[in-house]
């Protein structure tokens, strides 16, 4: 080199120094540039990798980046299986004739060792090293057994980087080259950084994939489950339907059996009968015989089936009437019947039930068949049980009472009801009876029997209508007025049947009669006259007639039970009020229900202050009739005077003057009686 001033040592060394400096600066710049580029490369790869969660797509992107950006021509990504026993090639690039899926056992080759040791393995000059090992191996007497692994056949350099996330091996990233020493420490560093990103990206994608698979699985399972459920449900439904049908069949058969058995004995006894535990018992009961007079000649010209049709129609009608009064048709004999009351359950009302049933039959028989009936009734002790040969045994009764009842029937006039003295004693308070001349009954001693005339009404009972009282004069026209009102408005209500439930015969009519008498009396009252004139008379009568109509749905045993506790009586009253309200509603008289609460409170003796006039009038009439009317479970009822004085001592009358009660007492009392008011010290005994 010939440069001016070249020989000058000072400037020469200066130049050398400058050149050296420039070299250092260039090197530094180059290093900075490379660093800069490395960071960019890593950023680029990183953002590409993270652009997708689809694993296959992501692996493609990674390998593409390794080739395009970093210049690794042969690269593959292997993923570890769940047991971490082997790795399988998930994606590769730069290999001909090689497909994903090839496996590498953990621990074999650079890839397997990288996986096992979780360390980067960077190999160079592999052919020579393998040759050396093989040579040693030969010296040691081992067979040559090269392991076939995926990758380049002529591989010389290989770098295998474990992909690890949180101590878990995800897989291995491997690059290869046929060059003897293709990868240096910088490549290792770069690839290690990329591998970190790749590992977490793959892990995320796999988690996502697994989550998707799991949710797919969950969906499938849910679908299968719901299909199973549907199948199950339809099976259960089908089975339930079968069972329901079988049950219904069983129920129907049970009903059929019971119907059959019910022809042999009263329904209540069927369970005992089925278990063969029915024992003969002695009970107080009433026996009734009926006969259809002239049926033989009536049916003389008829075809047999016509005869049976007529008779069965008649028996159906008779059976209805009998069951309405709790009777049991024990047997039929031709056109005749034998009917029992007070069996199998003992009852207080067997005699009145029988007489009422008989009255109903006699008054209505014309609607069914144009023939006359004879009815005979007898009350007393009978023995009841299953009777007859084993294959034909029937519930039956034995005893003198039965025989006498049959005699009563045969001695009865056409359309008449004849009862024995025993029956007459039980029903006299409620029915008008006509004493028949003493007669000799076939096979029995002389007897005095009675013909039933009809239900005893208020005016038929001298105990309740004192001839000396002011009421006596008005009683008959009032009773006729009420009878007419009842016929006009409540023809559909069978009061007798309802009253028969607790033997409160003619009670509703009596309350109406008394209430009407009292209302009219009050119209002339100096203080109450105006209010009484404004009270709706028809409404008063409706309420008086229907105030306890709910009895029709209450249990008769409960209605007739004696010795109720205060709570039981209160509960009965509450139920009666509710049942009455319901019945009023059915009769389309719901408006009347508003009068029920004060009335029932009055009945419970809870009202001591102001009482509305309707409540007090009907309440006074009701209590008075309850005290003076005969009851099955009562001995002699109260006398008129006793009842009035008792009422004057009731809580509502004690603390304040009750002009309505006073007017009622004045109306009803016997002329000679002086009543002791509720405020006096001692009650006066009758």
């Amino acid at each position: 080199m010939s440069v001016p001033g070249d020989n000058q040592p000072a400037s020469g060394s200066m130049r050398t120094l400058m050149i050296d400096n420039q070299k250092v600066i260039d090197e530094l710049n180059a290093r900075i540039q490379r660093r800069d580029q490395e960071v960019k490369i890593i950023q680029q790869i990183s953002s590409e990798i993270n652009s997708t969660l689809d694993l296959e797509h992501m692996l493609g992107i990674i390998l593409d980046s390794l080739d395009r950006v970093l210049g690794f021509k042969h690269c593959m990504i292997l993923l570890s299986d769940d047991a971490a026993a082997s790795l399988s090639v998930a994606a590769l690039r730069g290999y001909e004739n090689q497909q994903p899926g090839a496996t590498v056992p953990v621990g074999q080759g650079p890839i397997g060792v990288a996986a096992r040791r979780r360390r980067v393995v960077r190999m160079a000059a592999m052919a020579a090293q393998m040759g050396y090992v093989a040579a040693v191996r030969g010296e040691m007497g081992h067979e040559k057994a090269q392991v076939k692994l995926p990758g380049l056949a002529n591989v010389q350099s290989q770098m295998a980087i474990p992909l690890v996330v949180k101590d878990r091996l995800v897989g291995v990233l491997a690059v290869e080259s046929a060059a003897i020493n293709a990868f240096d420490a910088l490549d290792e560093l770069l690839l290690s950084i990329v591998a970190n990103q790749v590992a977490s990206a793959i892990d995320n994608a796999r988690l996502y994939l697994r989550e998707q698979e799991r949710s797919q699985l969950l969906d499938n399972t849910n679908r299968e489950l719901s299909q199973l459920n549907e199948t199950l449900e339809s099976k259960v439904n089908a089975r339930t339907a079968e069972l329901t049908e079988a049950l219904g069949d069983l129920e129907r058969r049970k009903v059929q059996h019971e119907e059959l058995l019910a022809r042999m004995a009263p329904r209540e006894l069927i369970p005992l009968m089925v278990e063969d535990r029915l024992q003969a018992v002695r009970l107080n009961a009433t026996v009734m015989f009926t006969d259809l007079s002239g049926f033989t000649s009536f049916s003389a010209g008829m075809e047999p089936d016509e005869v049976f049709a007529h008779l069965n129609h008649y028996f159906a009608w008779l059976g209805d009437a009998i069951s309405r009064y709790r009777g049991y048709v024990n047997k039929t004999m031709g056109d005749g019947t034998m009917i029992l009351f007070g069996v199998p359950e003992p009852s207080l009302s067997h005699a009145t039930d029988a007489v009422l049933a008989a009255l109903t039959l006699q008054s209505d028989v014309g609607t069914t068949i144009s023939l006359n009936m004879r009815i005979g009734i007898s009350s007393g002790v009978i023995t009841a049980g299953m009777l007859g040969p084993r294959n034909k045994s029937m519930y039956d009764v034995l005893g003198e009472t039965v025989n006498v009842a049959q005699r009563m029937e045969s001695s009865a006039p056409l359309g008449g009801i004849v009862v024995t003295a025993a029956t007459a004693d039980l029903v006299r308070p409620y029915f008008l009876l006509e004493t028949l001349p003493e007669q000799e009954i076939k096979g029995l001693s002389k007897m005095t029997n009675f013909r039933v005339v009809g239900l005893r009404k208020l005016t038929d009972d001298p105990r309740r209508v004192d001839p000396s009282g002011r009421f006596a004069a008005m009683a008959t026209p009032l009773q006729q007025e009420i009878e007419a009102f009842k016929a006009q408005h409540f023809d559909s209500v069978n009061f007798v049947s309802i009253q028969a439930r607790d033997g409160a015969f003619y009670h509703n009519e009596t309350v109406a009669i008394l209430a009407l008498a009292l209302l009219r009396e009050l119209r002339g009252h100096p203080q109450l006259g105006t209010a009484a004139s404004q009270l709706d008379e028809a409404r008063l009568l409706r309420f008086a007639l229907l105030h306890d109509i709910g009895k029709r749905t209450l249990d008769t045993a409960r209605l007739n039970r004696r010795g109720l506790t205060a709570e039981e009586r209160a509960a009965l009253r509450t139920d009666l009020e509710r049942a009455t309200a319901e019945t009023l509603d059915r009769l389309e008289l719901g408006e009347l229900a508003s009068a029920l609460p004060p009335f029932y409170r009055f009945e419970a003796q809870e009202l001591t202050g102001e009482i509305d006039m309707l409540t007090e009038i009907v309440g006074v009439a009701d209590i008075y009739d309850a005290l003076t009317a005969p009851k099955f479970y009562k001995g002699t009822p109260w006398s008129i005077r006793g009842a009035l004085e008792d009422m004057m001592r009731m809580p509502f009358a004690i603390n304040r003057p009750r002009p309505i009660l006073a007017a009622f007492a004045e109306l009803m009392r016997p002329a000679a009686a002086t009543l002791t008011s509720g405020r006096s010290a001692k009650p006066v005994l009758d």
Binding site: Q108, R117, A125, Q129
Partner: protein, 138 residues
């Protein structure tokens, strides 16, 4: 002198194990021994390492007499290098040992020899001199 002789960058390809190296050791009684080794590993700028896999005459000699001479060949240009070394220590754990162990395992496992080629230690030598052929006689 220790720590003063640096391995040049251009020798690195010769330290990848592409061509086996030749090593000369000498017993205390002066008897020399020449053999080949598969690879001379570079450790840092003035240290190299040899793998200690079997008890050989080389190992025994080095333990007696630390001075060793090694010839390596660069497979890229077939240049020949002569290194004067002095045995310093044997590492049986750490990054160097692991690196050599892993490479050994990788190769061995590929030839069905896993567990047979076991690295007992990484013998670390200090580089006393480096010469590239044709070398001048000093």
């Amino acid at each position: 002198m220790a720590g003063t002789i640096a391995l040049p960058q251009e020798i690195m390809p010769a330290l990848q194990g592409a061509v086996p190296a030749t090593i000369v050791t000498c017993a205390l009684d002066g008897e020399p021994n020449v053999t080949t080794v598969s690879q001379v590993f570079s450790v840092d700028q003035n240290h190299v390492a040899l793998s200690f896999q079997f008890f050989s005459k080389t190992i025994r000699n080095v333990r007696e007499n630390p001075y060793v001479m090694v010839q390596v060949i660069n497979p890229m240009d077939f240049s020949t290098w002569l290194l004067e070394l002095r045995y310093d220590r044997t590492e049986t754990e750490g990054p160097l040992f692991d690196d050599m162990d892993i490479k050994l395992e990788a190769i061995a496992s590929m030839t069905g020899m896993s567990g047979i080629f076991k690295l007992r230690g990484a013998d670390v030598y200090e580089v006393l001199s480096v010469k590239k052929a044709p070398w001048r006689r000093d």
